[in-house]
C-alpha cells in the first residue's frame, strides 16, 4: 500500500464515490435535508480523521492496523475487507437492477454484474493509485455533466415546491453516507503531502452533488417521484432540444455509471489490500 496518491486524486475519488449513489436517491424533502446534513457531518468526520492521522504521524489505515497488536490489527483488516466486498456486491446488485429496469430488460442481472465486476477488477487490481488517477478526470467529466443536466432542467421545476421546502427541514442523517467510511480508509496522509483540505472538499462536492440531484428530481417531478423507480434518472430526461438532443437522462446515467465503476474499483482495491495484509499467505499471489 506504499503508493503515492496526490491530494486532488483522493478528493476526486471521494467525490466520485458519493456521486455513484446519484441514480438511486430518495427524493422526499426530508431526504434532501438529510443529504445536506450528512454532507456537513461526513466532511467533518473526514477532516478529523485525516487530522488525527497527521497528528499521530500514521500514513493510512493499513499503517494504523500494523501499528496496533496483530490480534487486533489483522481481524480489523479482515473485517474491513469483508465490508469492502459487501459494498462492491451492493453496487453490482443495484446497478444491474437499474440496467434491467431501464435500458436492458432482456439482459440477466448476473451478466451485467459480471461486467461491472470485470471493469472493477481490471482497474482495482492495479491498486488505488491507478483507480485514483482514473477517478480524477472522471470526477471532472461527471461533475460537468451533472451540472449541465441540473442547469437545463431548472426551467421545468415547480417554484411552489421550492417555496414549501423549508417546512420539511429536519436533522436526519442519510445511511447512504455510511458507505463513505470504507473509501475514507483508502486515503493517505503524510507530512509532505497533506490531503485534509482536498479530501474534505471532495466529500463536500460529492455530498452537495447528491443533494442537488435529489432536489432537482423533487422540484421537477413533485409527487410523481413516488411512482417512478428511479426519479433522479427520470428527472434528467424531461429536457430535450428538437430532435437531436433527447433522452438527456441517458447521458446523465452514463456519468453516474462511470462513478459506480470507480466506486467498485475502489472497494475491490480496499478488499485486496486488506485481505493481503490480514492473510500473509495471499501475498504470494500476483495482483
Amino acid at each position: 500500500m506504499r503508493d503515492t496518491l496526490f491530494p486532488r486524486w483522493q478528493g476526486a475519488f471521494l467525490a466520485v464515490f458519493l456521486l455513484a449513489d446519484g441514480l438511486y436517491l430518495e427524493t422526499s424533502p426530508k431526504d434532501i435535508f438529510s443529504f445536506l446534513i450528512s454532507t456537513i457531518i461526513f466532511a467533518l468526520i473526514t477532516f478529523i480523521y485525516l487530522k488525527l492521522l497527521a497528528y499521530f504521524n500514521i500514513r493510512d489505515f493499513e499503517a494504523l492496523c500494523l501499528k496496533v497488536p496483530s490480534f487486533i490489527g489483522k481481524p480489523l483488516l479482515f473485517i474491513v475487507g469483508l465490508i469492502a466486498v459487501f459494498v462492491l456486491i451492493l453496487s453490482g446488485i443495484r446497478l444491474s437492477k437499474f440496467w434491467q429496469i431501464t435500458a436492458f430488460p432482456a439482459i440477466p442481472q448476473y451478466l451485467s454484474m459480471l461486467v461491472l465486476f470485470f471493469v472493477a477488477w481490471r482497474a482495482g487490481r492495479r491498486g488505488r493509485t491507478a483507480v485514483a488517477m482514473w477517478a480524477y478526470p472522471s470526477a471532472y467529466l461527471c461533475i460537468f455533466i451533472i451540472v449541465i443536466s441540473l442547469f437545463i432542467t431548472i426551467s421545468d421545476s415547480t417554484p411552489e415546491y421550492a417555496m414549501n421546502l423549508p417546512k420539511y427541514f429536519n436533522f436526519g442523517i442519510s445511511t447512504r453516507f455510511l458507505y463513505l467510511i470504507p473509501a475514507l480508509l483508502l486515503c493517505t496522509q503524510t507530512e509532505n503531502l497533506s490531503t485534509t483540505k482536498h479530501c474534505t472538499t471532495g466529500v463536500i462536492i460529492g455530498g452537495l452533488g447528491l443533494t442537488l440531484i435529489a432536489l432537482r428530481a423533487y422540484l421537477v417531478l413533485g409527487l410523481a417521484c413516488s411512482k417512478l423507480p428511479y426519479p433522479c434518472f427520470s428527472a434528467a430526461g424531461v429536457f430535450s432540444v428538437g430532435d437531436f438532443l433527447q433522452r438527456g437522462e441517458v447521458i446523465f446515467a452514463c456519468s453516474i455509471v462511470l462513478c459506480e465503476a470507480v466506486r467498485s474499483s475502489l472497494m475491490l482495491t480496499l478488499a485486496i489490500t486488506c485481505f493481503r495484509s490480514a492473510i500473509p499467505a495471499l501475498r504470494k499471489f500476483k495482483r
Partner: protein, 217 residues
C-alpha cells in the same frame, strides 16, 4: 488465451435467449427489431380499449419516412401494448412518441390508469403529452393529414408544443399530470378538433378535476 476468452464472452452476448415469467426474450432484443412509434390514439368502444398506432416507416434509402397505422384492442392498457407487440415481428418503441390522443371519456375516467401503464414502460417519455379529441374519434384526429408535409402525429406534437410555448395551453406533460393527480389537483389537457376544411386545429383546454368533473377553458 485471455483475449480468446474475452472474445468468446463477447460473442456469447451477441445472441441467445432466456425464459422470463411468461415468454422467451432474446438477449439482444433491445439492440434491434424495434418499431418506432410517433403517436397513439386511444378510445373505448364496447368496453374494449382500442389503440391506433402511428409508426414511422422508412421507405427509401434517402431518409424519407411515411406513417403506417394499425389498431389493436384489449381490456386494459397494459394488454393493448402487449397485443400490439404480439402483432408485430418487432417491438413497439415509444421513445419517439410525443403525443397520445384520447377520447373525452378516457380523459375523464381512465387517465390515471393510462399514465400508470405508460410509466411502467421504460421507453415511454415523461414529456409525452396527452390531448383530447372533440367531435371526432381520436384515430380520425391522428390520421388526418397535416397542413404541412410530414407525419401527422409528429405535426400534431409540434403544434401542441408551439401552442404550449405561447401559453395558449397550459403545459401538462405526463410527469405533471401524474404529479397533479397524486396531489388531488385539477389537470388541463389540450383539446383537438377537426376544422371545416378537414384539418386538425387546437380548440381549447379541458380541465379535469380529481373526481372526474370537467369544464372547458
Amino acid at each position: 488465451m485471455k483475449k480468446l476468452l474475452l472474445l468468446t464472452i463477447c460473442l456469447l452476448m451477441l445472441t441467445g435467449c432466456q425464459q422470463t415469467k411468461n415468454k422467451r426474450v432474446e438477449l439482444n432484443q433491445n439492440a434491434g427489431q424495434i418499431l418506432p412509434i410517433s403517436a397513439l390514439a386511444i378510445d373505448k368502444k364496447d368496453n374494449l380499449y382500442q389503440m391506433t398506432i402511428e409508426s414511422i416507416r422508412q421507405d427509401s434509402l434517402d431518409g424519407e419516412v411515411s406513417p403506417a397505422y394499425f389498431t389493436v384492442k384489449a381490456e386494459n392498457f397494459s394488454d393493448l401494448f402487449y397485443n400490439a407487440d404480439m402483432m408485430l415481428a418487432s417491438r413497439l418503441y415509444l421513445s419517439h412518441a410525443s403525443i397520445i390522443i384520447v377520447s373525452e371519456n378516457i380523459a375523464k375516467f381512465d387517465i390515471d390508469n393510462l399514465v400508470n401503464s405508460l410509466i411502467e414502460r421504460p421507453d415511454a417519455r415523461l414529456t409525452l403529452r396527452i390531448a383530447v379529441a372533440e367531435n371526432s374519434t381520436p384515430d380520425e384526429i391522428l390520421q388526418t393529414p397535416s397542413v404541412t408535409d410530414g407525419i401527422p402525429g409528429m405535426a400534431l406534437s409540434s403544434l401542441l408544443e408551439k401552442r404550449t410555448k405561447d401559453q395558449t395551453f397550459l403545459d401538462f406533460p405526463m410527469f405533471r399530470i401524474l404529479d397533479y393527480r397524486l396531489d388531488g389537483r385539477d389537470i388541463a389537457l389540450p383539446v383537438l378538433t377537426l376544422s371545416d376544411d378537414g384539418h386538425v386545429s387546437p380548440k381549447s383546454s379541458i380541465i379535469i378535476s380529481s373526481d372526474g368533473g370537467v369544464k372547458y377553458a
